[in-house]
Symmetry: C2
Subunit: 330 residues, 2 copies
Amino acid sequence: MSRPIEELGEFGLIEQLRRYQRGRPGLLAGIGDDAAVLAGPPGYRTLFTADILVEGVHFFPDTDPYALGRKAMAVNVSDIAAMGGIPTFATVGLGVPPGTSADRIDRLYAGMSDEAAAFGASIVGGDTVRAPVLFISVALLGEVEEQRLLLRKGALVGDRICVTHRIGEAAAGLLLLQRPDLQVPEDTRRRLVDRLLRPTPRVEAGRELGLGIATAAIDLSDGLAGDLYKLCAASQVGAIIDLAALPISDDVRRVAEAAGVDPVELALRGGEDYELLFTTSSLREGSHVLPRSGTPYTVIGEVVDEWRGVHVRQPDGRLRPLEDSGFRHF
Amino acid sequence: MSRPIEELGEFGLIEQLRRYQRGRPGLLAGIGDDAAVLAGPPGYRTLFTADILVEGVHFFPDTDPYALGRKAMAVNVSDIAAMGGIPTFATVGLGVPPGTSADRIDRLYAGMSDEAAAFGASIVGGDTVRAPVLFISVALLGEVEEQRLLLRKGALVGDRICVTHRIGEAAAGLLLLQRPDLQVPEDTRRRLVDRLLRPTPRVEAGRELGLGIATAAIDLSDGLAGDLYKLCAASQVGAIIDLAALPISDDVRRVAEAAGVDPVELALRGGEDYELLFTTSSLREGSHVLPRSGTPYTVIGEVVDEWRGVHVRQPDGRLRPLEDSGFRHF
């Protein structure tokens, strides 16, 4: 038991925490989904999630505080979106290094508040404490109609696997920040860095997917490969992802070429896109838009039996196992 | 606007955050009480609070992780207790330095889980991230019957001011940890250090006070002086505290004498007792116990008109203004 936490890994950490969850009336689903599911008002479920961003780990020290505030709230809203819900109330915990300007904190609050308000939610409390680095710890409540609730479990063999919008873009944006020398057009740079720093939670899409379209869903925070594994584990299914079908933009291809990396790897491994990954039996092959919200989505694969595991289909038609290598938290 | 955060102070920080709170259906009371008050199931209110502990700021690096876990949950439970409620569901965010042993994290979880379970609550989610120092960020939901809800506002001129149990004990415990040279009996040391490291949220007392006994309440986290000011500000009243009436134990007096400090100052300024400070028109002078829960309490003063301010009555009968000097968060 004296192992360092790095050896536990994220799954080990979640397992460790899950052991300490206790049943309680009103608890319908807890640790292991994007948000906990609690009994709500008649006909509704209450959702409860929490996410932390730490300076130097999740963001650069010079990140614009307003954008950072928006993102800290957005990543929590995204968890609610992945369950088909809308966000309602948030508490915000801030760790603040001595000497931080009051203006920086004000801009952070403004960003968090604006992002919450964009989805009808409000900050209702929190705690601000001294800390050696800036960190932001948001806890967010949401609500969803009982029949609209989406979970990671529920995917069925034969379902199609889809993602909203395009993937690998936040990872390409991160590459551009890490390597300012990369030669790409200015609008490509701006668009991809924006995708990293100003993610858009897919609340409208999640609401629509909850209307009987999706059988299971998760938001893409740790990268397609890692998050697909979580959805498959929860649903007890396998998957085949068609690499040729991945929605990779020309912008991402330009960055990949300039950096000498494979754009498919950016799409599979890159985290922080905050798109929705979902399974469905009712959508057609190819790239389309959801009829109500107009959200673009692409069918990228199919759900198979659990014993078949998780594979990718290469452009040459051959299958190879997909390595589970999402963002390493430790 | 380029002032450092130290100049804002805690009230400034809360004001700054309050500006960004937006109204929303279901929000009944937000920033500025121990917990936010939200619409709940019929006849109930939902409470929502969040508190953070940071290594080196709120606890020593060598603190026993199980006790630390209990305390991190207890300080949140105390916020719910001060509103007359019971805790229900928590998320726990952990910042963990690289190389931390998995066992330490396991003990932390166990402590948080046991403390929650002691009051019927459960941990249902959270986030664990890498960070340069250990920090613990708990968000906690609670519930309270509408008519049982206690707020900081509601104190009326003429009400008596009371505290549960004794105060200044956690501060005396901190002194003993900071100055191991202080000569006091071993059981005094153990009891006071325990009061600092293993606080007991006064849930039963809060439940009872909500049955029409208290007109206003707050938990003592930052010290009597600071928290009394908050209650008075919320209630728009003044107060006179009778120094001779403060419930100061012989243990605290022993430590104060050994350290050459005034025990009354420990009682007025010392934080982290997590006792309840409340106002009432229905309890008698002196020290007694609440009839249902058997919680000891002491009448320590009276509520006066706001224009009279906040004063202490010295043993010689003279009044002097009480300085507002709770725990400085920055």
